[in-house]
Amino acid sequence: MKHILSALVHNKPGVLAHVAGMFAARAFNIDSLAVGRTDDPSLSRMTIVVVGDDRVVEQVRKQLAKIVTVVKVQDFAGMDVVARDLMLISIACPPEKRPEILALVEMFQGKVVDIGIKFVMVEVAGPENKIEAFIEACRPYGIKNLVRTGTVAMPRQTQTKTEHNTDNSI
């Protein structure tokens, strides 16, 4: 099961290495890790997607919180969150295929950011399932290259009282 953890950390060299090292040492499985500065220049935010059951994730959260340079850790399990992944993908695009590929891009609300004789580079952002769906849709045409940021997430202001908040497709 995938859990999203959000950690606020000191913006200092070595902190990312420390977190990654802790995960490796304790054999926790990281699915993705995205980190960037916040509006406070002394702090960065890390969004980590961990694979594991509740007990494992509980240990992950506690071990993260134990690191001196980690300020706060939140587990988004069971919460209403907005989760986004951003991808740049280069698709084989001969001129005769161009219209159908561009139609596909529009359906996924993507943006063409580079175009050439052979390939088109598309930027798509959205929840993980949308990104995965777009990749599958592009496969028949031929994918040259792709890069993803990994999931970043923030909780919604109003938490709806549903049993399983797994549908983050908006």
Binding site: L8, H10, G14, A17, H18, G21, M22, A25, R55, E58, Q59, K62, Q63, A65, K66, V68, T69, V70, V71, K72
Partner: protein, 571 residues
Amino acid sequence: MTTKTEQTAPAQTKPGSQIIVDTLLEQGVEVLFGYLGGVVLPLFDKLYDSPIRVIIPRHEQGGCHMADAYARSTGKVGVMIATSGPGATNLTTGLATAMMDSVPIVALTGQVRTDLIGNDAFQEADTTGITRPITKHNVIIKNPNDLAHTIREAFYIASTGRPGPVLIDIPVDMQVAQVPVTPPQPIELPGYRVREHGHARQISSAAEAINASQRPVLYVGGGVISGNASEPLRKLAKKANIPVTMTLMGLGAFDQNDPLSLDMLGMHGAAYANFAVQESDLLICVGARFDDRVTGKLKTFASHARIIHIDLDPSSIAKNVPVDIPVVGNARYVLADLLEQVEYRERKEWFERIAELKKRYPLRYDRNSKMIKPQYVIEELWHQTQGQAIITTGVGQHQMWTAQFYKFSRPRQFITSGGLGTMGFGLPAAIGAQIGNPGALVVDIDGDSSFNMTLTELSTAVMYELPIKICLINNGYMGMVRQWQELFYGRRYSCSSLKNPDFARLAEAFGAVGLSARKKEEVPAVIKAMLEEKKPCLADFYVDPEENVWPMVPTGKSLHEMDGLNLLEMA
């Protein structure tokens, strides 16, 4: 418009090295351990004029163990200085030892000039990278203005919450740079919060459970000692009438001479302690972590008991076993709060059962053997020291026999590497403990293989005239390895026997006193002579080479499925 004459006088500046020494003095450091090298020369130059006593080991690992034992035996923060490159890498075992046993150490390592970092410079190593997993926190100084503040933070982090080693890597140009002297800023570490007092409702639930229990056991560990919670523990055990068992790291937290003591539990713990835990209906864990050496097979550990877990570190709670009543807080405060709510219960049947177990499965050995039995040496030492000496050990069989046969009565008396199990810890630890406790009697009960690893530190003991005693349990083997090879590998003693030097003569060559005993009748006199020696003294005891530690919980078995019970059982 300001003119030259109106400019304010320049702020007082000092070189970084002086700032470091000043901050150490401000933190109350009276003695530190350190080994020189190129990039720490500026620092040592300032130490030369300071009132801080500097102890030089013969190897940085030894120095780190000395700082560690100094901290364990006094409760203060141990300080170790090493140079860059090999000096720092030589610290890794020492730091890992301190990390696993939660010991407060501040390690200062020199580093090459900031502009050379990452250049494969002479004696350069990625110290912060290498030590990251084995320190509670580490940092490299890139701005000399950060020196004082970082050192203060280091002492704070090392000594608060769950203690641990903190390393500061200081490039040599930072030591030489001129730094303006500024007043100390308050320590601000967002996200580093220590929860000292337990949650009131949790404590009430715990008290209720204790009062209702028929067969409770207090299972205490090193956290009681580092939390200075020994006195509240004693009061609680007495008031509520609960027997107390200790982990290796917890020995000394409760007086083993007290009838409530169940002594040590676990893989080589007393059988009566292990049975008591397995039969208990309430296990009150204080400052311990359900380590694999204690629990045996987790699924069957204390399977009839509800579990209360009192610990300062939230990540320890529910890590290995599900906990019914968790209480996060410092044992000292939590136990004091609990004390007010618990009531005395007679628990007659439970104590009768425990007395029966103690009578049936005592810790014992063959007293009629013609050979010197290692347990005999330790027991005799215990008698002759009235059980009052500070004891350090290496790792292995001799360590287990010490835990079994030297009964400890106060905290910070037993200094041993529990979590990492570092062979070679004994001798430098004895030195560190002696430095921290000048008038005390300090004895290193060591094994021949463990002693071989760091015996060079004999020079340190002689140089500083430290009257430590080394009681060498010499069986010519890596004892614990040999025991496993005997029990599980058909006596195939692969690489576990050693060609040892004549240790007594070796000690004399170092400038210490060397004694030896080869016959059983010689043991009491040799121990007496060793204890009376004013100089550092090593006594080499040739013991039965194939004696085993019993009882033993083999890996994968339950805590009550001990081997060797037939040898211990009194009919």
